[in-house]
């Protein structure tokens, strides 16, 4: 048994203790707490709008496209912010790179618009 694996024994022990602790607390709680369920209590959310139907219901497919586009531009932002912070240090090369990156996304957007994806009709 190498040093390397001995280190993991510690991890394993911690994990085991963690699991046991949770089980113990929940177990004890389920034994000693009073149980008085009502339909309202068993709802997923106890306040706000009542959930209706199954969670596996279908969504209108056009929302999906908007969702997708949103994610794309979200990710774009994730890339642009770190670049902006270091823009000066990265110099013109960085500008070129980020412009190329944005152009790629713009191309996708143009294509989507031209294809009529964004028209709700």
């Amino acid at each position: 048994m190498s040093q390397y694996f001995q280190e993991y024994i510690t991890v394993g022990a911690f994990a085991a203790v963690g699991v046991l602790l949770v089980l113990a607390i929940l177990g004890v709680a389920s034994v000693i707490r009073p149980s008085n369920p009502t339909p309202a209590k068993k709802l997923t959310y106890e306040c706000g709008v009542d959930p209706v139907g199954s969670g596996w219901s279908q969504t209108y497919v056009r929302y999906y496209i908007f969702g997708l586009l949103f994610v794309i531009f979200d990710v774009e932002a994730v890339f642009i912010f770190p670049w902006a912070i270091h823009a000066e240090a990265l110099g013109i090369g960085g500008v070129i790179a980020i412009v190329l990156f944005m152009l790629t996304l713009v191309e996708g957007l143009v294509y989507a618009i031209k294809k009529g994806v964004l028209a709700w009709e």
Partner: protein, 500 residues
Amino acid sequence: MTFAQVLTPPSVGWIAIAPEIVLGVGAALILLFDVQYKPKRTHLGLATAAIVATAFAFAIVQYDRVQTLSQATADQAADFVATAFPFDAMIVLDANAVFGRFAMLLVTGLGLAAGWRLFERLGARAAEGLALMLLSATGFMFMASSTHLMMVFLGLEVGSIALYVLAGITRERTESDEAAIKYFLLGSVASAVFIYGVALTYAGSGSMNLLEIQGVLARNIFTRPAVLLIGIALMVVGMGFKVSAAPFHSWAPDVYQGAPGGIVGYMAAAAKIGGFAALIRILFTAFPDFISTWGPLVAGIAALSMLLGSTVALVQDDIRRMLGYSGVAHAGFILTGVVAGGAGTGEVWFYLGVYTVQLVGAFGVVAAVTGAATSGAGIDAFRGLSKRAPFLAATFTVLLLGMAGLPLTSGFVAKFGVFTEAWQAGYEWLVIVAVLASVIAFFFYLRVIVAMYMEEPVDEAVAPPGISVRASLALASLITIVIGIVPGPLLSLAGEASPL
């Protein structure tokens, strides 16, 4: 830093990724042109062909550059590094990368021509199909030309995701959707496995640059071998999936059967080239000193692939599934060359080159016989083909015999090469398994040939294939025969293709 300095763009070895740029920009332009001007599909096809040809021209320029580089003297060392390892050594310009591009572009061109009827059927979505094809080629070419595991992974994803979509591009048909979903689900897990392997490798060596990894491992007695070994194993498994090696092959027959006929050949061939290019690069560049560890592992996968692929192919009644399982066996044959380590690079590339051409050609015939936008290809459709479509029957025969490895076809030279390398590397048992598998494999190829020539034709008439299909099939058969008779030039070209 002065303003002028800021404005001076860094000198970048653009030539090292010129073919990829051409393909990527070409794909974007095709999409934009399509939505703006609604060109004829034939024009789109010609434009795509022109893009592939331009990329090929750049690859030839690169080949020339690599030739010059190989003669670099010591005082040109700085120049050498700048040209050979541009982009902070994320990319490498070496014979291995260039040969990968040659193979990839050849397969793309052939696949485009052989599957042209599919793009015609796609109607308004033809441009999307073409762009996806170019993009996947871009991705897989990056796999061959990167020395950085992150780049390899990016290439893998670009290439694979494009292929997932291509598999489902005839989305009106449930079989096509089914193939795409299967391919996507299984493929993403394989990608995850691969990236986990990359992470563990990084943990074990402190770098993701293959050359640095090799350097680190050569200097140090590494401290955490298990992490590194698991990392290697996971990367091998991930690539094993891409090249459909057993036991990670289960997607291949189903996807080959379900995906639209016109694109299957390209899909199968491109994934094989990309996967093996990366596998060669990773194992030979980063872990040459670990060959005693991964060698037997790869050998085991190879043996299982060959035996499983060739026995299961025997009982398939669908030609596409049969070719799928034969692809599993061929992955095993190629891995037989990989176990030899760096010495086998040339043979592996040679095998890859000739096999993928045969594969694209064979699926091209299948598409011409059973339809470019359909799924499945029962053997019944091939009975008596020699009477109904002699050209297709003849080219299919040549390609199948090439896959079977009959002497005087390129397949024989390829098999002989990898077997020899494995034997000289001390894997006699693997060669015996390989010979056994190729003996078994002969049957199912022959079965198709017999069905075409010696059985009564079914009544279905085969629509005469178009000019591009004819040209590509003729070219693929011609390559199979010519390389079989004059293998010298390609052997020496592939022989140079070892990674830096």
